[in-house]
């Protein structure tokens, strides 16, 4: 199922009518949102840590070239190989080259949004290499051939029945009558099947939550331990990371880790945080023989040059998604992008161009809850508004609404015209609505009145009454 961002209104409508999705979104609120609230209440230093985390990200982005070069130096000194890739095609080709050089047939994957962004799985399959997602949520959506609906909990939109259905369909060779009603049973089955894949994999691909410049280290954060089995057991470990993942030092990483899990899931810290530097060393008892890091641009340098460069500070915690009333109403798939929710509404048009994704920055009430919960204090409403400026300035579709606003703005600068227009329309609206106190329909405002009544205007405007001498 592939939902495009340009079909956002239809996607949203479908999502609103999807009872099972609505139940799943309700669960998300109870889980991550309440979790964050509780864990933050237990850490008095949380806001100060957020300020510091924001400063670390801003400083890093402002010195991005320096830190990436330093990362490359340190990673190379540790025996790693760093590849700079301009775009998705180059990254895919580079990854394939590494896999083919290793004679790979089977590749295990830790969760990686960059992997989704460059669509690496389809590409590997097309070249007769089997990629297997090992994060439980990613594994489930891989079976279903869906996009993740959330950047932290990719299968959050599904019920356990839907998961069982997918396992029945795809896990061949098992007794069809086996009990799969409960999550524990689903988990046990996934664990067994994936353990075989972990052990047999030739190459392991992970993402990176952070790249540490000081030591040339990649960091992955998981709760399952799948990323660790992915990167330790195979002969080759490939890290795929976009340019903005770099942070200066191990101590800076500690600060970011203090706010990451708390913001994402309401845990104090994830079960596993792993720091990897280079391939296996001489005396090591295990580990990959080769360690590759793909540094991906794919639009980041464009963003860096624009007025929404701050989005590069995002640490992919998902708090903005969890707290957004729009995401909470429609879920992730309606956005038609790897990155949904508020951060996705800024990043997707920035990476893919505004025309295909023009709805995303518009489909927000700019309530500001996202900025309020962001662990690195991204000014998301400001960035969404910047995209709205860009849309108007580049002639992206604005429809009837933009025309209305233009007329309004025209009148607002000409008080005589404003009062004249107001006088006429209000007299009419007020007369029609006086008895009931509301109007059931207003020409041109069907979008409102088909669902809600409109309060009847009182009649003569305040300014008119004040001018006529009324004072109370």
């Amino acid at each position: 199922m592939s939902l495009a961002a340009k079909n956002f209104p239809a996607n949203a409508r479908a999502a609103l009518g999807d009872t099972q999705l609505q139940e799943a979104l309700e669960r998300l609120r109870g889980g991550f949102v309440e979790g964050r609230r509780q864990v933050v209440a237990k850490l008095p230093e949380f806001d100060a840590l957020r300020d510091r985390a924001a400063e670390i990200r801003r400083h890093t982005i402002a010195h991005l070239d320096q830190y990436l070069v330093q990362f490359e130096e340190r990673a190379t000194a540790a025996g790693g190989i760093v590849h700079w890739c301009r775009d998705a095609a180059e990254a895919r080709a580079q990854i394939l080259e590494i896999c083919q050089a290793a004679d790979a047939r089977l590749v295990t994957k830790g969760k990686s949004m960059i992997g989704e962004e460059i669509e690496i799985n389809d590409y590997l399959e097309a070249h007769n290499i089997e990629p297997v997602e090992t994060d439980l949520g990613e594994y489930i959506i891989q079976l279903r051939r869906e996009l993740p609906s959330h950047i932290i909990a990719p299968a959050t939109h599904l019920s356990k029945e839907q998961v069982a259905e997918s396992f029945q369909e795809h896990h061949t060779g098992l007794d069809a009558a086996r009990p799969l009603a409960e999550p524990e049973a689903l988990l046990a089955e996934a664990r067994t099947r994936l353990r075989q894949k972990f052990l047999a994999a030739d190459v392991g691909i992970t993402g990176a939550n952070f790249l540490i410049a000081e030591t040339g280290t990649s960091v992955i954060v998981t709760n399952e331990g799948n990323g660790d089995l992915t990167q330790t057991l195979p002969r080759v470990h490939i890290v795929i990371a976009s340019l903005e993942k770099v942070v200066p030092s191990l101590d800076d990483a500690a600060t970011l880790l203090r706010v990451l899990a708390r913001s994402a899931t309401g845990q104090e810290i994830s079960a596993y945080t792993t720091f990897s530097t280079g391939p296996k060393r001489g005396p090591d008892l295990d580990g990959p023989d080769a360690y590759h890091v793909i540094l991906l641009d794919n639009g980041r340098t464009d963003i860096l040059a624009g007025d929404n460069a701050e989005i590069l500070g995002c640490i992919r915690c998902g708090a903005c998604l969890n707290h957004c009333p729009v995401y909470g109403a429609i879920g992730g798939h309606a956005y038609g992008s790897v990155y949904p929710g508020p951060m996705g509404s800024v990043l997707t048009p920035a990476l893919n161009g505004l025309p295909g994704a023009h709805h995303l920055p518009q489909a927000s009430s700019l309530c500001g809850r996202c900025e309020e919960v962001c662990p690195v204090r991204l000014p998301l409403p400001k960035m969404l508004r910047n995209l709205r400026f860009q849309a108007a300035e580049t002639g992206a579709p604005g429809g009837f609404a933009r025309l209305l606003v233009k007329l309004w703005a025209f009148a607002a600068r000409r008080p005589w015209l404003y009062r004249f227009g107001a006088g006429i329309s209000l007299a009419w609206l007020s007369a029609r609505g006086r008895k009931d106190g509301y109007l059931r329909s207003i020409p041109g405002l069907r979008a409102w009145t088909s669902r809600r009544d409109f309060p009847a205007p009182e009649g003569r405007t305040f300014m008119h009454q004040w001018k006529s001498g009324r004072r109370s």
């Binding site: 949203a12 900025e371 508004r385 309004w408 008080p415 409102w448 809600r452 009182e458």
Partner: protein, 261 residues
């Protein structure tokens, strides 16, 4: 009759220009008169500059930067020379106080921003009003508008004033800080989503047992009142200024003349 008001801020009359806001001006002028009363009772001399129309937020959030800037320049000029500018709206006050300096980056914008306030914040934080002499029986759900709450820090001020109104109880309205779905143009561009957001608020209002919904922003209140009315709800929706000023004789939002209590 003017009700007296406890007022700690001193005796010299303070010159306040009322920024009435387009929604109050066009849809519900009684909120404007209630605002004037509250300001006068707090020792202010109220003027209403005649050239005012709109703060420019629809253009600003609609992506029309130049238009918004032009409107902002006009507002700055219109409201020059007063000690304070007060608006009965969190979103309009925030537009001037927070966004004009970002939009124009001028000293004039910063200067206007420094003396512009939303009504509840002005009464409590600037004029030091602690209690209001008013009377109204009822159980209230107070809805926090997003701009007022997140851009201006308005949360306790209206509740503190409402707490001093005789006969009024505050209900346990869950999620008062959740966006109602109005968002200016948002509710007509993405009406299905806006409707869901309104429905969630309406459900919480019903669960709270409140018979009255109050707030500081007419946009939110019209949106929620419209939903409540379409659902056949008996909850009365008013701007908080109406209750504090003791001016609840006129029909509530979406209430007909026949239904007045």
């Amino acid at each position: 009759m003017a009700e007296s008001m406890q007022n700690n801020a001193g005796d010299a009359p303070v010159r306040v220009a009322l920024f009435v806001t387009c929604s109050v001006d066009l849809i519900r002028p009684s909120v404007g008169f209630a605002t004037v009363k509250l300001l006068e009772d707090a020792g202010c001399e109220v003027s209403v500059p005649a050239a005012q129309t709109c703060c420019g937020q629809p253009a600003y959030n609609g992506g029309l930067r130049e238009n918004a800037a032009a409107i902002a320049e006009q507002v700055i000029e219109t409201f020059a020379g007063f000690d304070y500018v007060v608006a009965p709206s969190g979103s309009c006050a925030a537009m001037i106080k927070v966004h004009y300096p970002q939009l124009l980056e001028s000293d004039a914008a910063r200067e206007l921003a420094s003396r512009t306030y939303e009504l509840m914040q002005f009464l409590v934080d600037v004029r030091g009003v602690e209690t209001i002499k008013a009377q109204l029986d009822g159980t209230v759900a107070y809805h926090d508008s997003c701009s007022g709450l997140r851009e201006l820090g308005i949360k306790e001020q209206p509740r503190a004033l409402l707490a001093s109104v005789d006969g009024l109880r505050q209900s346990d309205y869950q999620g008062s800080e959740a966006c109602c779905g109005f968002g200016g143009l948002f509710c007509v561009k993405y009406p299905d989503i806006a409707d869901k957001m309104a429905a969630d608020r309406v459900q919480a209002i019903a669960a709270s047992g409140a018979d009255m919904l109050l707030g500081g922003d007419l946009g939110c209140l019209c949106h929620l009142a419209g939903k409540l009315s379409r659902d056949g709800s008996r909850v009365q929706v008013r701007h908080v200024a109406e209750v504090l000023a003791g001016m609840t004789d006129c029909p509530a939002l979406c209430q007909g003349e026949a239904e007045e209590t």
